[in-house]
Subunit: 197 residues, 2 copies
DNA sequence: CTACATTGTTATCGCTGCCTACATTTGGAG
DNA sequence: CTCCAAATGTAGGCAGCGATAACAATGTAG
């Protein structure tokens, strides 16, 4: 029988996958580097080669999350027409789908947002998502389907709605079926708010 | 000189105040029972008499937060007329004021929401807040200032907006002045969405 | 082949939450 | 008033954690 090799092969990737699993199952507080090391079959100090601190691992997880989310939203926009309503609906549904499927991860992603020493990589990842939403509004305005107004102000309600829906969807304040129905209601609500007077 | 008395006097209250301070300053993750005990001038195991686990202390903090928030919102509703617009504005401003002043606490309050074994006391505290918002909508419907529709569905956008605004206000994704201006924009947005067709 | 960078291991530190056993204080029943 | 039980605080110890330093194995570039 062959002994486990001294080198793991791709410990970094393995740690990230394991971390995401336990994040999903038990939340970020329960995540322990030592436990990840055990599950990966390496020594307790091995992870430190790839993630200097626990926070660094969480950051890496968050960045990966932002990448997955933005590309999912990009993809959903590609599959839909040009009308503002259709695009907004697509974006909202994708965002909420991600939120429903990766609640803890999303929480982590936004939880790092106000940390003064979040990695620059993380910050740019967040900005890309923000830009995507802002562009959506700007496009709607160009097409005359969204009331005119300063972009940064106009994009706020969209953010607000997405963030709020997410919170409700992930933190389970409402039963799942109510959410399901409520999403449509809320999307209609948003569209009504953005409609030109 | 008099030795410190064997009994603290009101350790429970002292722990809660200290805990809220460090919660505000350094977040819930940095909160340590042992450190609280040190600051209170008491042995490391003393807090366990009042809070069996760390989670119990956090729960107590959250409950206190819900009580403060609901009574602030009640008070703000007492100071305002009966029109739906005025009442919604008052509620929204109070909620956001609380969120701005107690960001970490609010995060804690909602963070416990989906935990299966949250204390019943915590759960009822959350429901009281939910009822307050639902009543607001129902009242608006009675006065004909809000579109008709099932209550649970109609109250959702309000929750969504409040939650979303809170998230933006606390997690600092937007600069503070943009938030300030954005609140009015968003309240107008919500009113537009609730207006009868 | 050798020198070096990468990746893992071992050992240790100080911290944490939590538990059990014991000490002191307080307050109420008799 | 006294005594006993409950409430509250202390002492000590346990296992787990993140982090770091010193050392070992492996891969690789020249």
């Amino acid at each position: 029988m062959k002994a486990r090799p001294y080198h793991h092969g791709d410990l970094r990737a393995a740690l990230l996958t394991l971390a995401e699993d336990t994040l999903r199952a038990r939340g970020p507080a329960e995540l322990s580097l030592r436990e990840l090391a055990r599950e990966a079959g390496v020594s307790p100090a091995a992870p430190s080669r790839h993630f200097k601190t626990k926070q660094a691992l969480l950051d890496a997880l968050a960045i990966e999350g932002f990448q997955r989310l933005t590309s999912a939203m990009d993809a959903s926009l590609d599959r839909v027409g040009e009308s503002f309503g259709a695009r907004l609906t697509a974006v909202a549904r994708t965002y909420l789908g991600f939120a429903a499927a990766n609640g803890a991860l999303l929480e982590l992603m936004y939880g790092r947002k106000h940390d003064p020493d979040a990695s620059t990589e993380l910050i740019t990842a967040m900005h890309r998502l923000k830009d995507l939403a802002t562009d959506l509004i700007a496009d709607g305005q160009r097409r005359g389907e969204v009331r005119p107004g300063p972009l940064d102000l106009m994009s706020l309600p969209l953010f607000v709605a997405l963030q709020g829906l997410t919170q409700l969807a992930t933190s389970g304040g409402f039963p799942a079926d109510q959410i399901e129905a409520g999403v449509d209601e809320t999307i209609a609500f948003i569209l009504r708010g953005y409609a030109p007077s």
